[in-house]
Amino acid sequence: MRFLATKSRAWILFFSALLAVLWMTSPIQSVSQSQKQQANLDGLRDKAWKEGTVGVIVNLEVPMIQELTAASARFSGMDANQAITSERIAADNALKEAIEYAAWRVFMELEGTQYTVNHVYSYIPFIALRVSLNALSLLEVSSTVLGIEEDGLTRLIDPVEDSGGAKGDTSLTDGGDLSRPSLDTSVDLIGAKTAWGLGYTGNQWYVAILDTGIRKTHQFFTGKNIVEACFSLGSDGAAGAGDCPNGNSTMTGSGAAVHYSSTYPSYDHGTHVSGIAAGKYGSLAGVAKDANIIAVQVFSKFYGYLYCGSNSYCIASWNSDTLDAMNYIYSIRGSYNIAAINMSLGGGRYYSSCDTDSRKSAIDLLRSAGIASAIATANNSYCGSISGPACVSTSVAVGASTDADAEAYFSNWHATMQKVFAPGSGIYSSTGASDSSYASWNGTSMATPHVAGAWALMKQRFNGSVTDLLNALVTTGKSITSRCENKSLPRIQVDKAIQALPAGFKLTIQSNQFGTTQPIPGVYTYAPNTQVQIKPVPNTYCIFINWSGDATGSSDPLVVTMDRDKTVSAYFRYIYAPIATGRKVLNRTFSQAEYINILSWQTDPVNAGLDITLYRIYTMSGDTPTLLVELAGDKTEYYHRKVGQTSITTYAIRAVTSSGREGAPALVTVQ
């Protein structure tokens, strides 16, 4: 018996070893192991096994994703006109459809397993799912899946309590004579007031605050346009019912970003942050005092010790919700001039860049559209490490400084992942208690909106890339040495940054729906005396007529010298089809005969004023035209002779302008 038992064990060992070798050498495993980030797959499997399901964010293999993203991100800033909107939507849809197709392939592969689709992102190649162990196993081997990460929770970066005070040292209502030095001081410290004096107040620009929402009725937001959205899966981390005001996991429109009740700690964090970035009431103002706000509520409500520790209630954001919020901000870039997004949230501890994080894709996408992501490094007093997603190398990671230009003791520090300092100690701003309540809070959460607001001021000056503007902030900032090591980073001085930016002039190029321009319509900034060449590009059947605004005539191309802000509009017209008829007649002698197709037309009255010099008549074979004849512009009739008695011929008659542009065809069938 013992021998048999030993023999059985040997066989079991042998087959186990064989299976292990086969498993390790199978092509699928080779690919997945080499290409996917599966460091945490064991943890995910374990969680799925224990809890039944696990939330995951799946990186999809989408063919030509770089090209499609580049084509979409070409459209940055507000659409100049309807034509650009159409082009942008077409480019966006192409990207969206490619991602949706990849997602569909994955869903096909998961058929028969238990999974819930939380998000299919439109512009980044990711989907968020809640999957069973079986579904997770299929994802691991799917050729459409590049990587899988857990849909983790990111905590709000709670303000740091001063000794004896909750959150900060003051929690005040606007009683009139109460001093409000902190925001005044910090705004002045970073040079925002000087920037306002130069005319840069953030007017016409938006700052997006991805936080706990906003008390939009607060006096600090009087007169502002506040765009609202909510992405909140709720504590179950599954789509469907969620924590948005409408009871669902997503909501946009008025009321979407209402913050939670005061039961939840830091429920009004977003209201405070928004006020720092763009609040204005009376003499008190945030950094970009005339900017507008896009308030996005990304936090879900949690209860109990497992999530909230000693607090009964707490809030946290699913990473998939944050991603959806960033995806949303990108989707509305054509409708609003968005300078930056502010994310005063974070979690984890990163000693080096966390560029495998799914949020990097969203940060990069926004960056490619000229939108910066200002993210707090968090308040753990770490030296040499910061939280995520500030750890993403392409974010603008912000640490907190004091009014005395020292690094705040609570601010996490990393010499390269962190980009700048901004004031984050004792910052006085709006709170959610009432429409007139204010409080002074500490934290990198308070430092970050200083940078987001500064971005709006810089964008108003120069609508450059994130790299350009960050470079201006960094090179003009005041150096602050870290408490952790003898290294320093700049504390922003937005007035100096603005002055360091190219003193360019804005060229606004517009066109109507019948054509576009090269460069495409939009707002551009050029150095003084730059000569800009603009080429009108009429759509099919359209003709360029003339320039208006700061240019006249019909030069092609137009050369504009940028000696001031200019607006140039290209005016195009549609060349309408002639109004045409056709008939067949017999033309005979005594013994001979021919059949003639007689085409008659007249210019459509709406073409009045167009210089129609020719008519071209084509015979159509399917959709293929063959030129039959060219006639002078004063002709209104043509005999196509010697046609068959029973022939059926379709003609296309097109007006041609003196510049050679062909108009829309009038299709006439003669039988």
């Binding site: 007649v585 017999l586 033309n587 002698t589 005594f590 013994s591 001979q592 021919e594 010697k642």
Partner: protein, 198 residues
Amino acid sequence: MIRKIGIVLVLLLVSQVLHAQQATVNTNAPAPPKENTLSMFVGRFGYFLASKEFKDIYGNGVVFGGELRLGGRRITGWLEGNYRARTGKFSFTKEETKVNVLAIEGGALYKFKIKSGNIMPYIGAGVGYYMYDEKNEPIGEAKKNQIGFCVVGGASMRVLKSLALDCRIKYSTCSMQPADFKINIGGLTFGLGLGLGF
């Protein structure tokens, strides 16, 4: 075709019968005045009334021709050539088109004797060879030759010893298809001629 030949033969037969009866009846009658002209050459012109299709394009018009009559007192052989040329317009485009018809016709005439010896009515029938040529710029040329038939009726009136005035009506028919349409290039011709006897 056979029917038309038959008609011509019947006409010739009828003329021979009439001639025989007259000869019988007049056996004992005084001898008729001698006709001075048994054969003659007739130069003639006429007015041609065409079919509707021809008329729509070319209209009616003048015909020129010459005729040679050879033969006896009652039955005479007859050979004629005539020519007509017209310029017309296309039915729709009104562009110019030209047509030429040359006809060679021949047959027999039967001459009736009446009291007045200076007037001699006649009828006749024959065949013809018709040459049709239509030309124009837009379409080109249509040509065809074809045999047709004709019948004539008229009267000759002697005005001098060897000179006669001849009036007649001729109906001709000739069907052909030189191009797109089947046409009949015949018609009714009112002719006036001056004959020289020999």
